[in-house]
Symmetry: C2
Subunit: 151 residues, 2 copies
């Protein structure tokens, strides 16, 4: 117990700015981290759907589960004021905070469609999954079109 | 359906190196993304456990759920050969791949202890959660001590 407490203290002491004001850079790193993880899984699924490598049903289902879990997480990282980072660049457009209802609706579409894909992945075969995969891809793209700066 | 297919094609076409050889930089970005997301949640829990902000039981439980879900994900990003990135720096030590059994055991401890914390967070109060939180913190620290380069 004593050892644990020291660790807790060390962990919290290392992040004073975060602990007080939830540093904007931390928020940006958080949401970008989630999207990186989401992309890794989602792209692998796309390669299988496209037939560029063999369809592995168990792998696809596992990745769909991960995408569904991750889709619920980034929202909280879009902290007000984090349209610009201190040291961390972000492509988040200010419209996220001006047009918050639309942004929320789009994020909810990602959550809902990812959940549908994860459910479908348990029973459907590759052909049946195209539709569900495409709907998630559309949710990604629409939100990027409206709320993410182009490269 | 047709529109979906175009999106799938666009997504897959954008990542040829990944699709063929699982680019090492992508693997590094993936695992680092997971750890960033894990840290964001875990630190907030630590601030509450320490009493540096009020303990919010529902928030703590939600974050514990996220940590438990995220803890299961990074393992796959430690692809063989990804001890060095091309453009992305990594602090992963080569021992991860030399002493793989030990590394796996430590990653499993993170998974198991995070799951225990998430279960405990549903019923225990703040005092009861110290122990479970500390055990996850220890799992993080032991693995960092052995397998992550110091700054």
């Amino acid at each position: 117990m004593k050892k644990s407490w020291v660790l807790v203290a060390v962990l919290a002491a290392g992040v004073p700015s975060w602990a007080t004001a939830q540093g904007m850079d931390d928020a940006i790193r958080y949401r970008q981290g989630i999207f990186e993880a989401l992309k890794w899984n989602f792209r692998d699924m796309g390669v299988m759907i496209q037939g560029r490598k063999p369809f592995d049903k168990a792998r696809f289902a596992k990745e769909a589960e991960r995408v569904a879990a991750l889709a619920k997480m980034p929202w909280e990282g879009f902290v007000k004021g984090s349209s610009k980072g201190e040291d961390v660049p972000t492509r988040a457009r200010p419209e996220i905070w001006y047009d918050h209802d639309k942004f929320n609706t789009m994020m909810q579409a990602l959550i809902d469609r990812s959940a549908e894909l994860a459910v479908a992945a348990k029973t459907e075969d590759k052909d049946g999954l195209h539709h569900y995969y495409g709907r998630v891809a559309e949710a990604c793209k629409s939100c990027h079109d409206d709320f993410r700066e182009r490269d």
